[in-house]
Amino acid sequence: MMRPVRAYYPILPVLIGYGILFGIGQMVPGKWQLISQLAFFCALGQAFNLFMGMTGYVDFGYVAFLGVGTYGMAVSIYYLFDKGLGLTMIVIGMILAAVFSTLLSLAVGAVALRLRGAYFAIATIGVNEGFRFLIEGARIWNGSDGMIFSRHMKTAFGRETAMALSMKWADVIVFGVAFLAAVMTLLYMRNKVGYALTALREDEDAAKVMGINVTRYKLIAFITSAILAGLLGASAWALKLTYVYPTDVFAIHYTVEAIIIVLLGGAGTLLGPIVGGLIYGVSKYYLAIVLPGFQLMIFAPIIIMIIVLFPEGTVGILKKRVFGTPLEKFII
């Protein structure tokens, strides 16, 4: 199955990119939160791209996977904090996050993956909203009261460790998830999964006739993407912020952010989400500082402009430019 090492060169720019980002965060004091926010955007885009970019299916309710992931970690800490499990609790939380998002993705997959285009987008919005109202309506996990577990973490790990967990290690996990998402993307691209996904993205009926079990490959990409989102929610939202409210973790604007990031960078490319995440994160951050209260008004027309005039995204354009040069094998 393994291809020559050369085929995996594009992971180098990814590694360099995240390495530089991580380095800045560690070396420049007082920028870690910004760096971790950027890493969150990159990871979000990377995980979303794994499904959306490769299959062409727009999951508008994608944030639900981050939501259940957040709940996975929250449930673990909230209910197990006094069992003396120590850091195993974090591991359990990550596993729960992965399990919850897998289960939800299987359920959504069974219903929605048969649908195409706009129908799929609407169905996934329906799953996201429906799930939130179920949590609120049936009072699951405290319903709309949510869970606040900063105290639980301090009780379980001690003040210093709890602080380090939410202010540092949660972000390190986000970096990990981002890199894992990139690795998975590249692995898929270079193996049968990727070719199957390319085929079904271009023409699903033709792909079926070519002997591709489209449901299976869609589901593989969907579940992978969902698990990554679940882990991201567990680290960036639960472990870092130590609280969860249903309205907050199922907010659709995170899906919109993911779409913007992927489009800015270039859908279906490996480097796109990183470039897109950086552009989006940095410009958002400085707009919030320079023009507080007006950034959405400035951002919205710029997004329209980019979609209409540069639909391939930054990396898409770059890819065309480096075609036939030695850089070709690094940029996909």
């Binding site: 959306m52 062409g56 299916y57 727009v58 508008f60 219903v111 929605a112 048969r114 649908l115 285009g117 706009a118 129908y119 987008a121 609407i122 169905a123 919005i125 329906g126 799953v127 909203e129 429906g130 109202f133 179920l134 609120e136 309506g137 049936a138 009072r139 319903g143 993205r201 271009e202 919109v256 779409i259 913007i260 489009l263 859908a267 279906g268 023009l291 209260g293 007006f294 959405l296 008004m297 400035i298 951002f299 919205a300 027309p301 710029i302 997004i303 329209i304 402009m305 979609i307 209409v308 005039l309 540069f310 639909p311």
Partner: protein, 360 residues
């Protein structure tokens, strides 16, 4: 007791449902013709609500008379956004350029800088916030680039581009209205009496809103069936390519149906203020967008009359299921009605993606 409540709720649901149905017709029309899901739908409803509010507050015009004004505003906005943002993405004839080279980008950047400098002075002169003038500058730049280069039709995952564009249009509308009117929740009071039915009470304003929705739905139906323009548009819904072969200007039909859809949506905002004349604010549209999706699917997504029918069903189900869920301990019935409506959405998408009404 329960039956009294249930019948009262169902009656209310029917009246509300007709307005919801009307509010979804525009969404369905746009999807039917352009295959675009308008994620900014709710923002246009908000524009309608503000139209109604402003006319009432400024001149005491009853909301019924605001309908033609709202419709005209909607048509105009529809044309603006179609030609400004959507046409390059969806137009069947494609448009303009093949690629945007670095020289062009550099030129654009130069113009932006020049505009910024001009705008900086203008904003000082007119005492406007710099961000507002920056916004205007970006729109100008965009218009310029679009005029020269045209943009490209999206072949891969076209939903992605159109979803994001319509979403951004919604954000632009919301933020502009926020700048104009602040994010305060507003309202007005147009009381013309009530009808007491025993099981429930219905103000006449609600009945007028419901009747108005029905009238507009019937008018739209007649327009589609009896006029040349309507039939041309219907032909595009049925068969895009076939219509073109038969000499229908599909490009123009796209523009027309988009602006007609927006016109209907803005109008429905006025009708909604007759139903609920309070809580009008720039961000009020969000929940209506989600509701409209469910309703549109109930009606078959691409069919405006189906949407009207879907609205009625939705109103009945949402209000009726409240009584049902209220019988269970430990549940929050109101949230459960929402849950139920989304479950209904999924079931219908699975079993009958063409909607409850048999369309084809």
């Amino acid at each position: 007791m329960i039956f009294e409540q249930l019948s009262g709720n169902l009656l209310q649901g029917l009246v509300l449902g007709s307005v919801y149905g009307m509010a979804t017709m525009g969404l369905s029309l746009i999807f039917g013709v352009l295959q675009v899901v308008n994620v900014g739908h709710g923002a246009f409803i908000m524009v309608g609500a503000f139209t109604s509010l402003m006319m009432f507050q400024a001149a005491g015009v009853p909301p019924v008379l605001a309908i033609p004004v709202a419709f005209a505003i909607g048509m105009a906005l529809g044309m603006l956004f179609y030609f400004g943002a959507l046409k390059p993405l969806v137009s069947p004839s494609g448009s303009g350029i093949k690629s945007l080279d670095m020289r062009a980008v550099g030129m654009g950047a130069g113009i932006l800088v020049a505009l910024l400098v001009v705008m900086r002075f203008l904003s000082a002169a007119f005492k406007l916030h710099f961000a507002i003038t920056l916004f205007v500058a970006i729109i100008f730049l965009y218009g310029f680039l679009l005029y020269i280069y045209g943009g490209r039709r999206q072949d891969k995952a076209p939903e992605l581009a159109t979803l994001l564009v319509t979403f951004s249009i919604g954000v632009i509308l919301e933020e502009s209205v926020k700048q104009l009117f602040t994010s305060e929740a507003r309202g007005f009071n147009w009381a013309i009496g009530k009808l007491d039915l025993g099981v429930t009470v219905l103000p006449y304003t609600k009945l007028i809103a419901s009747f108005g929705s029905l009238t507009i739905a019937v008018l739209l139906y007649l327009w589609f069936r009896k006029t040349r323009a309507g039939m041309a548009m219907r032909s595009v819904v049925e068969d895009d390519v076939g219509a073109r072969v038969c000499g229908v200007n599909v490009d123009w039909q796209y523009a027309l149906s988009f602006s007609l859809g927006i016109g209907l949506t803005v109008t429905s905002g006025v009708l909604l203020t007759m139903f609920i004349p309070v809580g009008i604010n720039p961000y009020m549209g969000g929940p209506y967008t989600l509701k409209s999706f469910v309703i549109a699917v109930l009606g078959g997504l691409a069919s405006p009359y189906g949407a009207f029918f879907g609205g009625l069903v939705f109103g009945l189900v949402e209000n009726g299921s409240y009584t049902l869920f209220a019988q269970f301990q430990g549940l929050e019935p109101f949230a459960m009605t929402r849950f139920f409506s989304f479950v209904m959405l999924l079931v219908i998408l699975l079993l009958r993606p063409t909607g409850l009404l048999k369309v084809k």
